[in-house]
Symmetry: C2
Subunit: 293 residues, 2 copies
Protein backbone atom coordinates (compact mmCIF):
# COMPACT_ATOMS: atom_id res chain seq x y z
CA UNK A 1 0.00 0.00 0.00
CA UNK A 2 1.36 3.37 -0.97
CA UNK A 3 0.21 6.91 -0.47
CA UNK A 4 -0.07 7.60 -4.17
CA UNK A 5 -2.18 4.48 -4.64
CA UNK A 6 -4.61 5.76 -2.04
CA UNK A 7 -4.57 9.16 -3.70
CA UNK A 8 -5.39 7.65 -7.07
CA UNK A 9 -8.04 5.47 -5.50
CA UNK A 10 -9.79 8.44 -3.92
CA UNK A 11 -9.58 10.35 -7.20
CA UNK A 12 -11.27 7.51 -9.09
CA UNK A 13 -13.85 7.06 -6.35
CA UNK A 14 -14.75 10.73 -6.55
CA UNK A 15 -14.72 11.18 -10.30
CA UNK A 16 -16.02 7.69 -11.10
CA UNK A 17 -13.81 7.95 -14.15
CA UNK A 18 -10.28 6.63 -14.64
CA UNK A 19 -9.25 9.10 -17.32
CA UNK A 20 -10.53 12.14 -15.46
CA UNK A 21 -8.99 10.91 -12.23
CA UNK A 22 -5.63 10.52 -13.97
CA UNK A 23 -5.79 14.13 -15.12
CA UNK A 24 -6.65 15.26 -11.64
CA UNK A 25 -3.65 13.60 -10.06
CA UNK A 26 -1.39 14.48 -13.00
CA UNK A 27 -0.37 11.06 -14.16
CA UNK A 28 -1.12 9.19 -17.33
CA UNK A 29 -4.20 7.03 -17.35
CA UNK A 30 -2.27 3.74 -17.68
CA UNK A 31 -0.15 4.61 -14.65
CA UNK A 32 -3.23 5.22 -12.62
CA UNK A 33 -4.89 2.03 -13.83
CA UNK A 34 -1.76 0.08 -13.00
CA UNK A 35 -1.55 1.47 -9.48
CA UNK A 36 -5.21 0.82 -8.79
CA UNK A 37 -4.72 -2.71 -10.01
CA UNK A 38 -1.65 -3.13 -7.80
CA UNK A 39 -3.61 -1.92 -4.80
CA UNK A 40 -6.43 -4.32 -5.58
CA UNK A 41 -4.00 -7.19 -5.94
CA UNK A 42 -2.29 -6.38 -2.65
CA UNK A 43 -5.55 -6.08 -0.78
CA UNK A 44 -6.96 -9.15 -2.45
CA UNK A 45 -10.20 -7.56 -3.57
CA UNK A 46 -11.58 -5.52 -6.41
CA UNK A 47 -12.20 -1.95 -5.38
CA UNK A 48 -14.18 -0.77 -8.40
CA UNK A 49 -16.85 -2.30 -10.54
CA UNK A 50 -15.69 -1.39 -14.01
CA UNK A 51 -18.81 -1.15 -16.10
CA UNK A 52 -18.74 0.83 -19.31
CA UNK A 53 -19.46 4.42 -18.44
CA UNK A 54 -20.37 3.53 -14.92
CA UNK A 55 -17.44 3.06 -12.59
CA UNK A 56 -18.66 2.25 -9.11
CA UNK A 57 -17.19 1.30 -5.78
CA UNK A 58 -17.46 -2.29 -4.65
CA UNK A 59 -18.20 -3.03 -1.06
CA UNK A 60 -14.46 -3.33 -0.44
CA UNK A 61 -14.00 0.06 -2.06
CA UNK A 62 -16.68 1.55 0.16
CA UNK A 63 -14.88 0.16 3.18
CA UNK A 64 -11.53 1.54 2.07
CA UNK A 65 -12.64 5.02 1.03
CA UNK A 66 -13.09 6.67 4.44
CA UNK A 67 -9.83 5.20 5.71
CA UNK A 68 -7.96 6.29 2.61
CA UNK A 69 -9.28 9.82 3.01
CA UNK A 70 -8.26 9.89 6.64
CA UNK A 71 -4.78 8.55 5.94
CA UNK A 72 -4.21 11.18 3.27
CA UNK A 73 -5.52 13.92 5.55
CA UNK A 74 -3.24 12.77 8.36
CA UNK A 75 -0.27 12.80 6.02
CA UNK A 76 -1.10 16.37 5.02
CA UNK A 77 -1.43 17.35 8.65
CA UNK A 78 1.93 15.79 9.42
CA UNK A 79 3.64 17.71 6.64
CA UNK A 80 2.06 20.95 7.74
CA UNK A 81 2.84 20.50 11.42
CA UNK A 82 6.47 19.73 10.83
CA UNK A 83 6.84 22.60 8.40
CA UNK A 84 5.30 25.04 10.82
CA UNK A 85 7.83 23.96 13.40
CA UNK A 86 10.63 24.34 10.89
CA UNK A 87 9.45 27.75 9.84
CA UNK A 88 9.31 29.03 13.43
CA UNK A 89 5.58 29.54 13.24
CA UNK A 90 5.18 27.13 16.12
CA UNK A 91 7.46 25.53 18.62
CA UNK A 92 9.21 26.17 21.86
CA UNK A 93 12.58 26.99 23.25
CA UNK A 94 13.65 25.80 26.64
CA UNK A 95 16.10 28.35 27.97
CA UNK A 96 17.93 28.16 31.24
CA UNK A 97 19.36 31.27 32.88
CA UNK A 98 20.77 32.41 36.17
CA UNK A 99 18.33 34.43 38.27
CA UNK A 100 20.20 37.67 37.88
CA UNK A 101 20.05 37.40 34.09
CA UNK A 102 16.36 36.65 34.20
CA UNK A 103 15.75 40.05 35.67
CA UNK A 104 18.54 41.87 33.86
CA UNK A 105 19.21 40.88 30.29
CA UNK A 106 16.40 38.54 29.37
CA UNK A 107 13.20 40.61 29.45
CA UNK A 108 14.22 42.85 26.59
CA UNK A 109 15.75 40.06 24.50
CA UNK A 110 12.76 37.79 24.93
CA UNK A 111 10.43 40.62 23.99
CA UNK A 112 12.34 41.12 20.72
CA UNK A 113 12.28 37.39 20.05
CA UNK A 114 8.61 37.08 20.82
CA UNK A 115 7.73 40.01 18.57
CA UNK A 116 9.59 38.30 15.76
CA UNK A 117 8.22 34.78 16.40
CA UNK A 118 4.95 35.03 18.28
CA UNK A 119 4.18 31.34 17.80
CA UNK A 120 7.18 30.10 19.75
CA UNK A 121 6.62 29.35 23.42
CA UNK A 122 9.44 30.37 25.70
CA UNK A 123 10.07 28.13 28.67
CA UNK A 124 12.49 29.69 31.13
CA UNK A 125 14.27 27.62 33.73
CA UNK A 126 15.86 29.66 36.49
CA UNK A 127 18.78 28.10 38.28
CA UNK A 128 22.43 28.16 39.16
CA UNK A 129 24.98 27.34 36.47
CA UNK A 130 25.61 23.94 37.94
CA UNK A 131 21.98 22.88 37.68
CA UNK A 132 21.61 24.40 34.24
CA UNK A 133 24.58 22.49 32.90
CA UNK A 134 23.10 19.25 34.19
CA UNK A 135 19.80 19.97 32.56
CA UNK A 136 21.46 20.81 29.26
CA UNK A 137 23.23 17.47 29.33
CA UNK A 138 19.98 15.65 30.08
CA UNK A 139 18.32 17.32 27.14
CA UNK A 140 15.87 19.15 29.38
CA UNK A 141 17.09 22.49 28.07
CA UNK A 142 17.93 23.68 24.57
CA UNK A 143 20.09 26.61 25.63
CA UNK A 144 21.37 28.07 28.85
CA UNK A 145 22.95 31.32 29.94
CA UNK A 146 25.61 30.31 32.38
CA UNK A 147 28.55 31.79 34.19
CA UNK A 148 31.99 30.83 32.97
CA UNK A 149 34.09 28.93 33.69
CA UNK A 150 32.08 25.75 33.44
CA UNK A 151 31.95 23.66 36.61
CA UNK A 152 34.49 20.83 36.60
CA UNK A 153 33.17 17.57 35.23
CA UNK A 154 30.81 19.27 32.84
CA UNK A 155 29.65 17.28 29.83
CA UNK A 156 30.61 18.41 26.35
CA UNK A 157 29.08 21.84 25.93
CA UNK A 158 29.71 24.51 23.35
CA UNK A 159 29.86 27.97 24.85
CA UNK A 160 29.88 31.42 23.33
CA UNK A 161 30.84 34.33 25.53
CA UNK A 162 28.01 36.76 25.63
CA UNK A 163 29.01 39.59 27.96
CA UNK A 164 31.02 40.49 30.99
CA UNK A 165 29.28 41.79 34.04
CA UNK A 166 30.92 43.98 36.61
CA UNK A 167 29.85 43.27 40.15
CA UNK A 168 29.13 46.17 42.48
CA UNK A 169 28.27 46.64 46.10
CA UNK A 170 24.76 47.80 46.91
CA UNK A 171 23.81 49.26 50.24
CA UNK A 172 20.88 51.16 51.69
CA UNK A 173 20.79 54.82 50.65
CA UNK A 174 19.87 55.63 54.21
CA UNK A 175 22.97 54.06 55.76
CA UNK A 176 26.53 55.22 56.16
CA UNK A 177 28.12 55.60 52.69
CA UNK A 178 30.93 53.10 52.08
CA UNK A 179 34.33 54.00 50.70
CA UNK A 180 34.17 54.69 47.00
CA UNK A 181 35.38 52.76 45.15
CA UNK A 182 34.92 49.82 47.48
CA UNK A 183 37.37 47.02 47.97
CA UNK A 184 36.68 43.40 48.73
CA UNK A 185 38.51 43.82 51.99
CA UNK A 186 35.92 46.38 53.04
CA UNK A 187 33.40 43.58 53.22
CA UNK A 188 35.30 41.98 56.09
CA UNK A 189 33.57 44.11 58.68
CA UNK A 190 30.34 44.60 56.77
CA UNK A 191 27.24 42.57 57.45
CA UNK A 192 26.38 40.83 54.16
CA UNK A 193 23.02 39.86 52.77
CA UNK A 194 23.60 36.64 50.88
CA UNK A 195 21.69 34.73 48.21
CA UNK A 196 20.50 31.22 48.68
CA UNK A 197 22.69 28.29 47.71
CA UNK A 198 22.68 27.78 43.97
CA UNK A 199 23.31 31.39 42.98
CA UNK A 200 26.61 31.72 41.21
CA UNK A 201 26.94 35.11 42.89
CA UNK A 202 27.12 33.40 46.24
CA UNK A 203 30.02 31.14 45.28
CA UNK A 204 31.79 33.98 43.55
CA UNK A 205 31.45 36.45 46.42
CA UNK A 206 32.49 33.94 49.04
CA UNK A 207 35.46 32.89 46.93
CA UNK A 208 36.56 36.50 46.54
CA UNK A 209 36.38 37.11 50.28
CA UNK A 210 38.40 34.00 51.00
CA UNK A 211 40.96 35.08 48.43
CA UNK A 212 41.21 38.34 50.36
CA UNK A 213 41.90 36.38 53.49
CA UNK A 214 38.66 36.35 55.42
CA UNK A 215 35.43 34.44 55.80
CA UNK A 216 32.39 36.63 55.11
CA UNK A 217 29.61 36.91 57.68
CA UNK A 218 25.96 36.92 56.67
CA UNK A 219 23.17 38.69 58.51
CA UNK A 220 20.58 37.17 56.27
CA UNK A 221 20.95 34.44 53.71
CA UNK A 222 18.62 32.66 51.37
CA UNK A 223 16.02 34.18 49.11
CA UNK A 224 16.04 35.32 45.55
CA UNK A 225 17.39 38.50 44.01
CA UNK A 226 14.36 40.63 44.86
CA UNK A 227 14.38 39.52 48.47
CA UNK A 228 18.10 40.22 48.82
CA UNK A 229 17.65 43.73 47.47
CA UNK A 230 14.74 44.26 49.83
CA UNK A 231 16.88 43.25 52.79
CA UNK A 232 19.64 45.58 51.67
CA UNK A 233 17.25 48.51 51.31
CA UNK A 234 15.92 47.76 54.77
CA UNK A 235 19.45 48.20 56.07
CA UNK A 236 20.16 44.59 57.01
CA UNK A 237 23.46 44.64 55.22
CA UNK A 238 25.21 45.11 51.88
CA UNK A 239 25.30 42.74 48.92
CA UNK A 240 27.42 42.10 45.87
CA UNK A 241 25.30 42.06 42.72
CA UNK A 242 25.78 42.54 38.98
CA UNK A 243 25.91 46.20 38.00
CA UNK A 244 23.04 45.62 35.58
CA UNK A 245 20.82 44.50 38.42
CA UNK A 246 21.94 47.29 40.70
CA UNK A 247 21.29 49.87 38.00
CA UNK A 248 17.64 49.00 37.76
CA UNK A 249 17.11 48.39 41.46
CA UNK A 250 15.39 51.74 41.87
CA UNK A 251 15.64 54.36 44.59
CA UNK A 252 16.67 53.57 48.12
CA UNK A 253 20.00 52.06 47.11
CA UNK A 254 23.53 53.28 47.02
CA UNK A 255 25.60 51.58 44.32
CA UNK A 256 29.32 51.43 44.87
CA UNK A 257 31.71 50.10 42.24
CA UNK A 258 34.65 47.97 43.26
CA UNK A 259 38.17 49.26 42.84
CA UNK A 260 40.33 47.57 40.21
CA UNK A 261 40.63 44.76 39.52
CA UNK A 262 37.10 44.49 40.81
CA UNK A 263 34.94 41.47 40.32
CA UNK A 264 33.59 40.44 36.99
CA UNK A 265 31.93 37.42 35.69
CA UNK A 266 31.62 36.14 32.16
CA UNK A 267 28.18 35.16 30.94
CA UNK A 268 28.11 32.64 28.11
CA UNK A 269 25.51 30.93 26.03
CA UNK A 270 25.84 27.16 26.19
CA UNK A 271 24.35 24.20 24.39
CA UNK A 272 25.26 20.58 23.92
CA UNK A 273 28.12 19.95 21.55
CA UNK A 274 26.89 16.60 20.35
CA UNK A 275 23.51 17.78 19.07
CA UNK A 276 22.64 20.89 17.15
CA UNK A 277 20.00 22.92 18.99
CA UNK A 278 16.54 22.96 17.43
CA UNK A 279 15.71 25.57 14.88
CA UNK A 280 13.88 27.89 17.26
CA UNK A 281 16.70 27.66 19.79
CA UNK A 282 19.26 28.59 17.16
CA UNK A 283 17.13 31.59 16.33
CA UNK A 284 16.98 32.67 19.96
CA UNK A 285 20.72 32.20 20.17
CA UNK A 286 21.13 34.56 17.24
CA UNK A 287 18.90 37.17 18.85
CA UNK A 288 20.85 36.89 22.09
CA UNK A 289 24.18 37.34 20.35
CA UNK A 290 22.85 40.23 18.31
CA UNK A 291 21.66 41.92 21.49
CA UNK A 292 25.26 42.60 22.48
CA UNK A 293 25.64 45.21 19.79
Amino acid sequence: MQFQQLLYFVAVAETRHFTHAAERVHVSQPSLSQQIRALETELGAELFSRARGNIGLTEAGEALLPLARRILADADTARQEVQELAQLRRGRVRLGATPSLCTGLLPEVLRVFHDRHPGIRLLIEEGGSHDLVRQLARGALDLALIVLPLPPGSPALTTVELLQEDLVVVSAASGKPPRRPARIADLRDQPLVMFRHGYDLRELTVAACRAAGFEPGFTVEGGEMDAVLGFVRAGLGVAVVPSMVAGRAGPGFRVTPLADPGLRRTIALAHRSDVAPPRAARELQRVLLDSRE
Copy 2:
Protein backbone atom coordinates in the same frame (compact mmCIF):
# COMPACT_ATOMS: atom_id res chain seq x y z
CA MET B 1 6.29 10.44 2.39
CA GLN B 2 6.01 6.66 2.29
CA PHE B 3 4.51 4.10 4.58
CA GLN B 4 7.80 2.33 5.11
CA GLN B 5 9.46 5.62 6.03
CA LEU B 6 6.86 6.17 8.74
CA LEU B 7 7.32 2.59 9.87
CA TYR B 8 11.08 3.03 10.15
CA PHE B 9 10.57 6.36 11.88
CA VAL B 10 8.32 4.83 14.52
CA ALA B 11 10.77 1.98 15.02
CA VAL B 12 13.63 4.37 15.66
CA ALA B 13 11.48 6.54 17.90
CA GLU B 14 10.57 3.54 20.00
CA THR B 15 13.94 1.83 20.16
CA ARG B 16 15.96 5.07 20.20
CA HIS B 17 18.51 3.09 18.23
CA PHE B 18 19.03 2.95 14.49
CA THR B 19 20.63 -0.47 14.39
CA HIS B 20 18.03 -2.10 16.62
CA ALA B 21 15.24 -0.43 14.71
CA ALA B 22 16.65 -1.78 11.45
CA GLU B 23 16.57 -5.31 12.85
CA ARG B 24 13.03 -4.82 14.03
CA VAL B 25 11.75 -3.81 10.61
CA HIS B 26 13.98 -6.33 8.83
CA VAL B 27 16.08 -4.04 6.70
CA SER B 28 19.73 -3.21 6.78
CA GLN B 29 20.78 -0.31 8.92
CA PRO B 30 21.96 1.84 5.99
CA SER B 31 18.61 1.42 4.26
CA LEU B 32 16.84 2.58 7.34
CA SER B 33 19.18 5.52 7.82
CA GLN B 34 18.70 6.50 4.22
CA GLN B 35 14.93 6.42 4.45
CA ILE B 36 14.87 8.40 7.65
CA ARG B 37 17.12 10.94 6.01
CA ALA B 38 14.84 11.08 2.96
CA LEU B 39 11.84 11.66 5.20
CA GLU B 40 13.64 14.43 7.03
CA THR B 41 14.63 16.05 3.75
CA GLU B 42 11.11 15.90 2.40
CA LEU B 43 9.60 17.34 5.57
CA GLY B 44 12.33 19.94 5.85
CA ALA B 45 13.22 19.21 9.44
CA GLU B 46 15.38 16.86 11.47
CA LEU B 47 13.31 14.26 13.26
CA PHE B 48 15.97 12.84 15.56
CA SER B 49 18.79 14.33 17.57
CA ARG B 50 21.62 11.96 16.83
CA ALA B 51 23.83 12.07 19.86
CA ARG B 52 26.20 9.20 20.48
CA GLY B 53 24.33 6.57 22.35
CA ASN B 54 21.38 8.82 22.92
CA ILE B 55 19.03 9.10 19.97
CA GLY B 56 16.14 11.40 20.81
CA LEU B 57 13.17 12.89 19.07
CA THR B 58 13.29 16.52 18.08
CA GLU B 59 10.22 18.66 18.49
CA ALA B 60 9.35 17.92 14.86
CA GLY B 61 9.72 14.22 15.58
CA GLU B 62 7.45 14.53 18.60
CA ALA B 63 4.87 16.20 16.41
CA LEU B 64 5.11 13.53 13.75
CA LEU B 65 5.08 10.46 15.99
CA PRO B 66 1.39 10.31 16.94
CA LEU B 67 0.33 11.00 13.37
CA ALA B 68 2.68 8.37 12.02
CA ARG B 69 1.31 5.82 14.46
CA ARG B 70 -2.24 6.67 13.49
CA ILE B 71 -1.52 6.46 9.77
CA LEU B 72 0.08 3.05 10.16
CA ALA B 73 -2.80 1.85 12.30
CA ASP B 74 -5.31 3.09 9.73
CA ALA B 75 -3.45 1.29 6.99
CA ASP B 76 -3.58 -1.94 8.98
CA THR B 77 -7.27 -1.44 9.59
CA ALA B 78 -7.85 -0.90 5.90
CA ARG B 79 -6.04 -4.09 4.97
CA GLN B 80 -7.96 -6.06 7.54
CA GLU B 81 -11.37 -4.66 6.62
CA VAL B 82 -10.92 -5.37 2.96
CA GLN B 83 -9.62 -8.85 3.62
CA GLU B 84 -12.53 -9.68 5.86
CA LEU B 85 -14.86 -8.67 3.07
CA ALA B 86 -12.90 -10.78 0.62
CA GLN B 87 -12.89 -13.76 2.94
CA LEU B 88 -16.66 -13.65 3.41
CA ARG B 89 -16.33 -12.94 7.10
CA ARG B 90 -18.20 -9.71 6.57
CA GLY B 91 -20.24 -8.21 3.80
CA ARG B 92 -23.67 -8.29 2.28
CA VAL B 93 -25.53 -9.66 -0.67
CA ARG B 94 -28.45 -7.84 -2.18
CA LEU B 95 -30.72 -10.47 -3.68
CA GLY B 96 -33.90 -9.86 -5.57
CA ALA B 97 -36.55 -12.54 -5.93
CA THR B 98 -40.13 -12.93 -6.97
CA PRO B 99 -42.54 -13.21 -4.06
CA SER B 100 -43.35 -16.83 -4.70
CA LEU B 101 -39.69 -17.79 -4.56
CA CYS B 102 -39.26 -15.87 -1.34
CA THR B 103 -41.68 -18.18 0.34
CA GLY B 104 -40.78 -21.31 -1.59
CA LEU B 105 -37.15 -21.83 -2.43
CA LEU B 106 -35.31 -19.12 -0.55
CA PRO B 107 -35.78 -19.84 3.15
CA GLU B 108 -33.88 -23.12 3.05
CA VAL B 109 -31.14 -21.85 0.75
CA LEU B 110 -30.58 -18.72 2.78
CA ARG B 111 -30.39 -20.75 5.96
CA VAL B 112 -27.64 -22.89 4.44
CA PHE B 113 -25.79 -19.81 3.25
CA HIS B 114 -26.11 -18.07 6.57
CA ASP B 115 -24.85 -21.09 8.47
CA ARG B 116 -21.82 -21.12 6.23
CA HIS B 117 -21.18 -17.35 6.30
CA PRO B 118 -22.77 -15.87 9.39
CA GLY B 119 -21.07 -12.50 8.89
CA ILE B 120 -22.77 -11.77 5.58
CA ARG B 121 -25.94 -9.71 5.74
CA LEU B 122 -28.65 -10.81 3.36
CA LEU B 123 -30.80 -8.06 1.89
CA ILE B 124 -33.83 -9.43 0.07
CA GLU B 125 -35.78 -7.34 -2.39
CA GLU B 126 -39.17 -8.78 -3.26
CA GLY B 127 -40.60 -7.77 -6.62
CA GLY B 128 -41.74 -8.76 -10.07
CA SER B 129 -39.15 -9.74 -12.65
CA HIS B 130 -39.51 -6.45 -14.46
CA ASP B 131 -38.63 -4.40 -11.38
CA LEU B 132 -35.83 -6.75 -10.41
CA VAL B 133 -34.21 -6.46 -13.81
CA ARG B 134 -34.27 -2.68 -13.56
CA GLN B 135 -32.68 -2.76 -10.14
CA LEU B 136 -29.99 -5.14 -11.31
CA ALA B 137 -29.12 -2.74 -14.11
CA ARG B 138 -28.98 0.18 -11.69
CA GLY B 139 -26.59 -1.70 -9.47
CA ALA B 140 -29.09 -1.79 -6.60
CA LEU B 141 -29.02 -5.57 -6.59
CA ASP B 142 -26.18 -8.05 -6.87
CA LEU B 143 -28.28 -11.04 -7.93
CA ALA B 144 -31.90 -11.69 -8.77
CA LEU B 145 -34.09 -14.73 -9.19
CA ILE B 146 -36.30 -13.93 -12.10
CA VAL B 147 -38.70 -15.61 -14.44
CA LEU B 148 -37.54 -16.32 -17.96
CA PRO B 149 -37.79 -15.07 -20.60
CA LEU B 150 -36.39 -11.68 -19.77
CA PRO B 151 -38.72 -8.75 -20.44
CA PRO B 152 -38.06 -7.10 -23.80
CA GLY B 153 -35.59 -4.23 -23.63
CA SER B 154 -33.67 -5.70 -20.75
CA PRO B 155 -30.10 -4.54 -20.22
CA ALA B 156 -27.28 -6.99 -20.65
CA LEU B 157 -27.81 -9.67 -18.03
CA THR B 158 -26.26 -13.06 -17.63
CA THR B 159 -28.78 -15.69 -16.63
CA VAL B 160 -28.43 -19.25 -15.46
CA GLU B 161 -31.50 -21.45 -15.45
CA LEU B 162 -32.16 -22.63 -11.96
CA LEU B 163 -35.30 -24.68 -12.01
CA GLN B 164 -38.62 -25.20 -13.71
CA GLU B 165 -41.76 -24.80 -11.73
CA ASP B 166 -45.04 -26.48 -12.65
CA LEU B 167 -48.06 -24.34 -12.02
CA VAL B 168 -51.12 -25.93 -10.45
CA VAL B 169 -54.62 -24.88 -9.64
CA VAL B 170 -55.50 -24.50 -5.98
CA SER B 171 -59.03 -24.39 -4.74
CA ALA B 172 -60.81 -24.67 -1.40
CA ALA B 173 -61.00 -28.23 -0.06
CA SER B 174 -64.59 -27.52 0.90
CA GLY B 175 -65.75 -26.62 -2.59
CA LYS B 176 -66.77 -28.67 -5.57
CA PRO B 177 -63.76 -30.65 -6.83
CA PRO B 178 -62.58 -29.55 -10.28
CA ARG B 179 -61.83 -31.87 -13.12
CA ARG B 180 -58.53 -33.64 -12.58
CA PRO B 181 -56.23 -32.93 -14.30
CA ALA B 182 -57.43 -29.41 -14.91
CA ARG B 183 -57.21 -27.54 -18.17
CA ILE B 184 -56.74 -23.88 -18.77
CA ALA B 185 -60.08 -23.77 -20.48
CA ASP B 186 -61.70 -24.86 -17.22
CA LEU B 187 -60.80 -21.52 -15.78
CA ARG B 188 -63.14 -19.77 -18.20
CA ASP B 189 -66.11 -20.27 -15.96
CA GLN B 190 -64.21 -20.26 -12.68
CA PRO B 191 -63.99 -17.22 -10.47
CA LEU B 192 -60.28 -16.48 -10.10
CA VAL B 193 -58.39 -14.97 -7.20
CA MET B 194 -55.61 -12.92 -8.74
CA PHE B 195 -52.33 -11.47 -7.49
CA ARG B 196 -51.56 -7.78 -7.57
CA HIS B 197 -49.89 -6.25 -10.57
CA GLY B 198 -46.21 -6.96 -10.59
CA TYR B 199 -46.44 -10.70 -9.96
CA ASP B 200 -45.14 -12.66 -12.87
CA LEU B 201 -47.81 -15.24 -12.10
CA ARG B 202 -50.46 -12.70 -12.97
CA GLU B 203 -49.04 -11.96 -16.40
CA LEU B 204 -48.44 -15.62 -17.06
CA THR B 205 -51.92 -16.76 -16.05
CA VAL B 206 -53.68 -14.03 -17.95
CA ALA B 207 -51.57 -14.73 -21.02
CA ALA B 208 -52.46 -18.45 -20.83
CA CYS B 209 -56.14 -17.69 -20.59
CA ARG B 210 -56.00 -15.36 -23.55
CA ALA B 211 -54.13 -18.01 -25.52
CA ALA B 212 -57.01 -20.34 -24.74
CA GLY B 213 -59.38 -17.80 -26.15
CA PHE B 214 -60.97 -16.07 -23.20
CA GLU B 215 -60.46 -13.20 -20.79
CA PRO B 216 -60.31 -14.42 -17.18
CA GLY B 217 -62.55 -12.90 -14.57
CA PHE B 218 -61.35 -12.05 -11.08
CA THR B 219 -63.45 -12.11 -7.95
CA VAL B 220 -60.64 -10.65 -5.91
CA GLU B 221 -57.40 -9.18 -7.09
CA GLY B 222 -54.43 -7.62 -5.40
CA GLY B 223 -52.61 -8.87 -2.36
CA GLU B 224 -49.58 -11.00 -1.84
CA MET B 225 -49.21 -14.76 -2.01
CA ASP B 226 -50.48 -15.40 1.52
CA ALA B 227 -53.56 -13.25 0.99
CA VAL B 228 -54.39 -14.97 -2.28
CA LEU B 229 -54.17 -18.39 -0.64
CA GLY B 230 -56.38 -17.15 2.17
CA PHE B 231 -59.01 -15.99 -0.28
CA VAL B 232 -58.88 -19.31 -2.06
CA ARG B 233 -59.33 -21.26 1.15
CA ALA B 234 -62.30 -19.05 2.02
CA GLY B 235 -63.92 -20.16 -1.22
CA LEU B 236 -63.68 -16.86 -3.10
CA GLY B 237 -62.26 -18.59 -6.13
CA VAL B 238 -59.38 -20.64 -7.48
CA ALA B 239 -55.83 -19.53 -8.23
CA VAL B 240 -52.90 -20.64 -10.32
CA VAL B 241 -49.75 -20.94 -8.22
CA PRO B 242 -46.42 -22.74 -8.38
CA SER B 243 -46.64 -26.33 -7.24
CA MET B 244 -43.95 -25.66 -4.64
CA VAL B 245 -46.11 -23.02 -3.02
CA ALA B 246 -49.23 -25.15 -3.24
CA GLY B 247 -47.45 -28.09 -1.66
CA ARG B 248 -46.67 -26.17 1.49
CA ALA B 249 -49.96 -24.28 1.64
CA GLY B 250 -51.29 -26.56 4.37
CA PRO B 251 -54.73 -28.10 4.87
CA GLY B 252 -57.90 -26.60 3.50
CA PHE B 253 -56.69 -26.68 -0.08
CA ARG B 254 -57.24 -28.93 -3.00
CA VAL B 255 -54.31 -28.99 -5.41
CA THR B 256 -55.08 -29.90 -9.01
CA PRO B 257 -52.33 -30.34 -11.59
CA LEU B 258 -52.86 -29.07 -15.08
CA ALA B 259 -53.12 -31.49 -17.98
CA ASP B 260 -50.27 -31.55 -20.50
CA PRO B 261 -48.73 -29.38 -21.66
CA GLY B 262 -49.63 -27.58 -18.48
CA LEU B 263 -48.04 -24.36 -17.43
CA ARG B 264 -44.47 -24.06 -16.39
CA ARG B 265 -42.16 -21.24 -15.76
CA THR B 266 -38.40 -21.15 -15.79
CA ILE B 267 -36.69 -19.53 -12.84
CA ALA B 268 -33.22 -18.19 -13.52
CA LEU B 269 -30.48 -16.50 -11.59
CA ALA B 270 -29.46 -13.20 -13.18
CA HIS B 271 -26.70 -10.69 -12.74
CA ARG B 272 -25.21 -7.93 -14.80
CA SER B 273 -23.01 -9.09 -17.64
CA ASP B 274 -20.72 -6.10 -17.54
CA VAL B 275 -19.62 -6.47 -13.93
CA ALA B 276 -18.70 -9.58 -12.01
CA PRO B 277 -20.85 -9.90 -8.89
CA PRO B 278 -19.08 -9.30 -5.59
CA ARG B 279 -17.44 -12.19 -3.87
CA ALA B 280 -20.27 -12.84 -1.42
CA ALA B 281 -22.82 -12.75 -4.23
CA ARG B 282 -20.86 -15.29 -6.24
CA GLU B 283 -20.85 -17.50 -3.18
CA LEU B 284 -24.60 -17.22 -2.78
CA GLN B 285 -24.96 -17.98 -6.48
CA ARG B 286 -22.99 -21.16 -5.97
CA VAL B 287 -25.15 -22.20 -3.02
CA LEU B 288 -28.29 -21.55 -5.07
CA LEU B 289 -27.06 -23.61 -7.99
CA ASP B 290 -25.95 -26.41 -5.67
CA SER B 291 -29.41 -26.45 -4.09
CA ARG B 292 -30.84 -27.94 -7.25
CA GLU B 293 -29.21 -31.31 -6.64
